[in-house]
């Protein structure tokens, strides 16, 4: 087993657990950023450099900042929940469901023949160029759809967030 893999995974799982359990939303966000960084680290380990950089650029540079603004706009700035429980009524049901699903997944993975599979051979260095070429040849339709989707999401988000302002 690889020590880098283990450390990175441990940090990541810790970040994820803290992100869903901490009470202060800003602390949750910071734990989430640790988790995002861990994912990016795994991408670098898996020789998907471009995805790793994209992950940092999009998730830490954009999504985390978005969540940050949402927290700032909806809460008192300290980010705490003001003494009330942060969990819903039937929290034990959710925890039970999730942990049993996790257990099941681990068991199934253990039983699968893929479990000891090793990497399919080294990936060459010039993957970035290849991705660029594929984006404008084979994947050009998904790319265009993605462009439309992002534009729609952008306009939609602005409209949804603006709507109530006018009525008041």
């Amino acid at each position: 087993m690889n020590i880098v893999f283990l450390t990175l995974s441990a940090i990541m799982v810790l970040g994820a657990v803290l992100a869903v359990t901490l009470r202060n939303l800003v602390h949750c966000l910071l734990a989430l950023v640790v988790f995002f960084l861990g994912i990016a680290g795994h991408f670098f380990l898996l020789k998907a450099d471009f995805l790793g950089a994209a992950q940092i650029l999009i998730y830490i540079g954009a999504v985390a900042v978005l969540i940050l603004f949402a927290i700032m706009l909806t809460r008192n700035i300290s980010g705490t929940e003001g003494g009330r429980s942060s969990l819903g009524g039937a929290w034990w049901l959710g925890v039970g469901l999730a942990s049993s699903l996790a257990g099941m997944m681990c068991v199934f993975v253990r039983r699968s023949e893929l479990v000891t599979k090793l990497p399919y051979g080294a990936t060459e260095e010039g993957v970035v160029k290849e991705i660029g070429k594929l984006l404008v040849t084979d994947w050009v339709v998904p790319l265009e759809i993605m462009a439309v989707l992002l534009t729609a999401a952008l306009i939609g988000a602005v409209v949804i967030a603006l709507e109530e302002e006018k009525k008041r």
Partner: protein, 384 residues
């Protein structure tokens, strides 16, 4: 790294392998950190001297010859100061923020080719890595402002976040033309693509526009003076680092200056031909000459920064964001089209003229559109 490893092997073949490897890894890091920290210390002195001259005073002149040891004195003073943490502060986040401000700034240095064949790691996604990592400084900034539990800190942090996020977009789009021209994301191959007499990307119409956009965005990204709203002294004390003192404050200053230097390094690499220059290919002292070229170009960027700081007033928030979204963003999009026109032109001259005309028309049109608008009177929602 491999080159240094080879060098160590050649000169002391008796050295154990792991030690040679460790040295080969640590040596470039030590050199890069050492050189850039020296540059940082010098830069604070240069900046204060130059600003002094612009404002018709002498600047620091007490410590050492012409005040040259002023940075050392400043550093000692800040080190010996008491470290005050506000009672209401979020202790852990408050402690982490200044550390995290410095880390991205130094991480970007890893992909800046300082001299011919001297780069810490030649990633094949170099430029993207630099842009991605420099964005991550937003969070450190926010952490500092939020953890202090101070109105001014939070205001400064939110301003900083809004500013960095807005300027990130035209910055990346301005970088796209360079990637289109060089066909690579690796910083070394970008530099190598700029060989030749007028090979530097800044000598081309799209390159010039890209360079100006990139430089402005870089200045906004590291909050240099015309864009230093997050730490505007006259409005919000010192912005996000109001509640920091002693060494943590020094770390903030260091992060800011090192980020300015590294952004300058990226600008030089992408638009000004990096380490290229007459004599950079000489077999013996090529690396030294190319390093001199790199630092000379970096010096030009630094002078531009200081000059802008000394002569421009601070902009308003609405002006700042309007400038990014209404002028720089459309211009950088037109710039990409201009690059495509250049690329598909039948010959060099036609391409030059066509893209130059396109960009000139776009700039005139955008300035005209933006000039007519007046800012509406400010209304306050929460005061009666």
């Amino acid at each position: 790294m491999d080159a240094i490893y080879q060098l160590i092997h050649d000169y002391c073949p008796t050295m154990p392998d792991w030690l040679a490897l460790a040295l080969a890894i640590l040596l470039p890091i030590a050199i890069v950190m050492g050189v850039f920290l020296t540059v940082f210390a010098l830069l604070t002195w240069v900046e204060r001297k130059a600003l002094g001259r612009i404002q018709n005073r002498r600047g620091p002149n007490r410590v050492g010859p012409v005040g040259l040891f002023q940075p050392i004195a400043d550093g000692l003073k800040l080190l010996t100061k008491e470290d005050i943490v506000p009672n209401a502060a979020d202790k852990v986040v408050h402690f982490l923020a200044p550390v995290l401000v410095v880390v991205p700034a130094f991480m970007v240095l890893a992909v800046v080719p300082v001299a011919k064949g001297f780069i810490a790691v030649d990633l094949n996604i170099g430029v993207l890595f630099a842009l991605a990592v420099s964005t991550a400084s937003v969070l450190a900034l926010f952490m500092a402002g939020w953890a202090s539990h101070n109105k001014f800190s939070l205001l400064g942090a939110m301003r900083g976040v809004a500013q960095v996020v807005s300027y990130e977009v035209p910055m990346v789009l301005a970088a796209v033309v360079v990637l289109m021209a060089s066909g690579s994301l690796s910083s070394v191959s970008i530099v190598e693509a700029q060989r030749g007499l007028t090979g530097w990307f800044v000598c081309k119409p799209w390159g010039l526009v890209g360079f100006v956009i990139f430089q402005l965005c870089a200045m906004a990204e590291v909050a240099r003076t015309p864009f230093d709203l997050p730490e505007a002294e006259s409005e919000i004390v010192a912005g996000y680092h109001t509640e920091y003192s002693g060494f943590k404050f020094a770390l903030f200053q260091m992060g800011e200056y090192v980020a300015a230097i590294t952004m300058g390094g990226i600008t030089v690499t992408m638009f000004l031909g990096g380490y290229l220059g007459p004599g950079c290919d000489l077999p013996k002292f090529g690396w030294l000459i190319s390093a001199c070229w790199f630092f000379a170009k970096l010096g030009i960027i630094v002078v531009i920064n200081i000059w802008a700081r000394g002569t421009w007033p601070r902009v308003r928030v609405d002006q700042l964001l309007g400038f990014a979204w209404k002028l720089l963003l459309p211009l950088s999009l037109v710039n990409i089209v201009a690059m495509a026109v250049w690329h598909f032109a039948p010959n060099k001259l036609v391409g030059w003229v066509e893209s130059a005309v396109l960009l000139a028309v776009a700039i005139v049109a955008l300035v005209k559109i933006n000039a007519g608008q007046t800012f509406e009177k400010r209304s306050y929602r929460f005061t009666s």
